[in-house]
C-alpha cells in the first residue's frame, strides 16, 4: 500500500518537474521557441477535454464544449474591454459564468441520453456561435480585438504575476499559466474520480434508474458534473482569448467541440489522464505532419484510423494490455 503511494507521489513530482522545469529548459536549449505555443495549446485544449471526459464519466457524450470555451472567452474579453477588469479575476469569473450557464442549459438537456445528448450539445456549439453573432455585447461579427495582455497581479502589494506586456518572453508566461491551470484541473479531476463521487458518477454512467433507487440525486449530480465540465471549458477559452488578444464568434466552433471529444476517446475514456495524452498526441500529430503538405490530413486521419483499430480503448489501454500480458 505505501509502496503504491510512494510510486504515485514520485510520478506526480516527476510530472511537475517535467512540465515546469524540464520542458522550458529543453525548449530554450534547443531554441524551438514555437513549441511554447504548441504546448500551451495542448495544455489549454486538454483542460477543455478534461471537462468533456468528466461528462463521459457520467455517461454523456458531450460535443458542446466549444460553446463554453467560446462563452468563457467572451466573458473574459468583455469584462476586460468594456468594464476595465484585469485579466486575472476574469479567469475564474469566466469559468463560473459558464458553470452557471451550464446549469441552466443542463437541467433540461441532461435528461437526454446517448446520441440525443450528443447531438443537442453539438447544436449548442452552433447556438453559441449564432448568439455571439447576434448579441450586441459581443460586438457581433466584428469580434473583440486588441485585447490587452494580462497585467500584473499583486496581492497585498506583492507582485505575484508580472505584467505580461513587459515580459521578454510572454510565451513562456502563457505556457506556465496554461500548465498551472492544467495541473490544477487534472488534480481536481483525479480527486473527483478517485473519491466516492467518482463511484457515484460511474453509477450514473451505468444505470441511472438504479442509482436513483438507491437514493442518489441523479439530476443534481449530473448538473454538478456538467457544471465542472463547463467551468473547465470556460477557463480554457478565456486563456485562449488572452493569448490571441482577440475573440470572434468563430474562435471555437463545432470542429473544436468534436476535437475535444476525440481527444478523450484517443487518450482513453477509462483513464483520468486520457484527455491530456489524447490532446497531446492529436495536436502534435497534426503539427508534426506539417511537413507533408497537402497529404497532411490524409496521413493524419489514416494514422488515427490505425490507432483506433489497434487500441480501440484509447492509448492508455496499451499500458493495461502490456500489464495483462506481463
Amino acid at each position: 500500500m505505501t509502496h503504491k503511494r510512494n510510486v504515485k507521489i514520485a510520478s506526480v513530482v516527476a510530472f511537475l518537474a517535467i512540465v515546469f522545469i524540464a520542458v522550458p529548459a529543453a525548449i530554450s536549449a534547443s531554441g524551438r521557441i514555437d513549441l511554447y505555443y504548441t504546448l500551451t495549446s495542448v495544455a489549454l485544449l486538454s483542460i477543455g477535454s478534461a471537462g468533456v471526459w468528466l461528462t463521459f464519466y457520467i455517461g454523456r457524450i458531450n460535443i458542446g464544449q466549444g460553446a463554453y470555451a467560446l462563452m468563457g472567452g467572451y466573458v473574459s474579453a468583455v469584462l476586460v474591454m468594456n468594464h476595465g477588469w484585469s485579466f486575472w479575476p476574469t479567469l475564474p469569473v469566466a469559468g463560473l459564468f459558464c458553470a452557471a450557464a451550464s446549469v441552466l442549459i443542463g437541467l433540461p438537456i441532461l435528461r437526454l441520453r446517448g446520441v440525443y445528448f450528443a447531438m443537442v450539445t453539438l447544436t449548442l456549439t452552433e447556438v453559441a456561435r449564432l448568439l455571439a453573432l447576434a448579441l450586441p455585447i459581443t460586438n457581433g461579427a466584428k469580434g473583440i480585438v486588441s485585447i490587452p495582455l494580462p497585467g500584473a497581479l499583486s496581492i497585498f502589494g506583492l507582485t505575484v504575476i508580472p505584467d505580461f506586456a513587459v515580459l521578454q518572453n510572454s510565451r513562456l508566461a502563457f505556457y506556465l499559466l496554461a500548465v498551472t491551470v492544467m495541473v490544477v484541473c487534472f488534480a481536481v479531476m483525479y480527486r473527483l474520480v478517485n473519491s466516492r463521487i467518482g463511484k457515484l458518477c460511474q453509477s450514473l454512467q451505468q444505470n441511472e434508474e438504479l442509482a436513483s433507487s438507491i437514493g442518489v440525486n441523479i439530476a443534481y449530480l449530473r448538473v454538478i458534473a456538467y457544471a465542472v465540465s463547463s467551468f473547465f471549458g470556460g477557463v480554457s477559452g478565456a486563456i485562449f482569448a488572452a493569448i490571441s488578444q482577440s475573440i470572434y464568434p468563430s474562435s471555437f466552433t463545432v470542429t473544436d467541440s468534436v476535437n475535444f471529444m476525440l481527444n478523450c476517446f484517443l487518450g482513453g475514456l477509462g483513464y483520468v489522464f486520457g484527455p491530456m495524452l489524447g490532446t497531446l498526441v492529436l495536436y502534435f500529430g497534426w503539427d508534426l505532419l506539417f511537413q507533408t503538405g497537402q497529404f497532411q490530413l490524409l496521413i493524419y486521419s489514416g494514422l488515427m484510423i490505425v490507432l483506433m483499430l489497434v487500441l480501440p480503448n484509447g492509448l492508455l489501454s496499451l499500458a493495461e494490455m502490456t500489464r495483462k500480458k506481463g
Binding site: R196, K199, E209, S213, I214, G215, N217
Partner: protein, 259 residues
C-alpha cells in the same frame, strides 16, 4: 401493529391503457405482503408508483401518514422506500462489492464536498460502508464473488445482488420485484429464509412473485391484481381457496405436468 404504508385509490394510465386501476390496501409494520397476479396485471407498475418512479394518475401513497407519491425516486428512497427491479438491474461494470458499497449512499454522513476533500467523516463513512457491504454479501452468499465484475454473474446471482443493493440502502420498506425468479427450489428456500430474517431485523417487505410455493410460505397477506384491479386480498390460505384467483391466476392443479 401500526399501519406503515397506505395505498389509496391508486390509478395509473399509459395513454389509453389503465395499468393500475383504483387500487387500495395497506401494509403493516414488519409485515410481508405479496402482490400476485397474471402477467401484465400491473404489479410492477404498482411498485413503481409506490417507490415514486412513476407519478400516479390519481390516488396516493402514504408512508406513516405522510404522502410520498409523486416525489422523486431518490427522495422516496431517503424516506426509506426502496425497490429492486424486475429486470436484473445492477451496475454492470463495477465489482459486486462496489455495487453494494455504492448503494450505501443514503447512509453517508459526509457531504459530496466532504468526499472530495477526504475529510475524517468521509473516511469513516467509507470504512463503515465497506464493512457493511461485506456483511450483506455474506448474508446473501455472494462473498466469494465479491471481486467479480457484476456483468459476468449468472442470472440467479444477479437477482441476489439486486437484493443486496436494496438492502444496503437500509430501507424501512423494501419492495422486491420477483426476487426468486430464476432460482431453483433450494435457492428459493434459502432466500425465503433470508427475507424472513430481514423482517425480523425490522424491515417491512412487499413482494411481487410468481413462485407460488414460495409466496404461500413467506407471506403474511397477499393482494391479487388482475387487469390493474385488486380482485382479492387475504391470508395465503384464503387466497389459495379463492375461486376468482384460481380462475385468473393459479389454475387448477395438473399432476401430469407437475403443477
Amino acid at each position: 401493529m401500526a399501519e406503515m404504508l397506505e395505498v389509496s385509490g391508486l390509478t395509473k394510465r399509459f395513454g389509453g391503457l389503465v395499468a393500475v386501476n383504483n387500487v387500495s390496501f395497506s401494509v403493516r409494520e414488519k409485515e410481508i405482503l405479496s402482490v400476485i397476479g397474471p402477467n401484465g396485471a400491473g404489479k410492477s407498475t404498482l411498485f413503481k408508483l409506490i417507490s415514486s418512479f412513476l407519478r400516479p394518475t390519481t390516488g396516493e401513497v402514504r408512508l406513516k401518514g405522510e404522502r410520498i407519491s409523486g416525489l422523486a425516486p431518490h427522495i422516496a428512497a431517503r424516506r426509506g422506500v426502496v425497490r429492486t427491479f424486475q429486470e436484473t438491474t445492477i451496475f454492470k461494470n463495477m465489482s459486486v462489492r462496489d455495487n453494494v458499497v455504492i448503494a450505501h449512499h443514503l447512509r453517508s454522513k459526509a457531504s459530496l464536498f466532504g468526499f472530495f476533500l477526504g475529510t475524517g467523516t468521509a473516511k469513516a463513512d467509507e470504512a463503515a460502508f465497506g464493512a457493511s457491504a461485506d456483511e450483506i454479501l455474506e448474508l446473501l452468499g455472494l462473498s466469494s464473488l465479491a471481486e467479480e465484475t457484476a456483468r459476468n454473474l449468472p442470472h440467479g446471482h444477479l437477482r441476489a445482488l439486486g437484493i443486496a443493493i436494496g438492502l444496503a440502502t437500509d430501507p424501512s420498506i423494501l419492495l422486491l420485484d420477483e426476487p426468486f425468479a430464476g432460482m431453483n427450489h433450494d435457492e428459493t428456500m434459502r432466500m425465503v429464509a433470508m427475507v424472513r430474517r430481514l423482517r425480523e431485523r425490522g424491515l417491512t417487505i412487499l413482494l411481487v412473485e410468481h413462485d407460488m410455493p414460495a409466496v404461500m410460505r413467506i407471506s403474511d397477506r397477499i393482494v391479487v391484481l388482475n387487469f390493474g384491479q385488486k380482485i382479492a386480498e387475504g391470508t395465503p390460505s384464503e387466497i389459495q381457496a379463492d375461486d376468482k384467483v384460481i380462475e385468473a391466476y393459479l389454475g387448477s392443479e395438473d399432476e401430469a405436468i407437475g403443477l
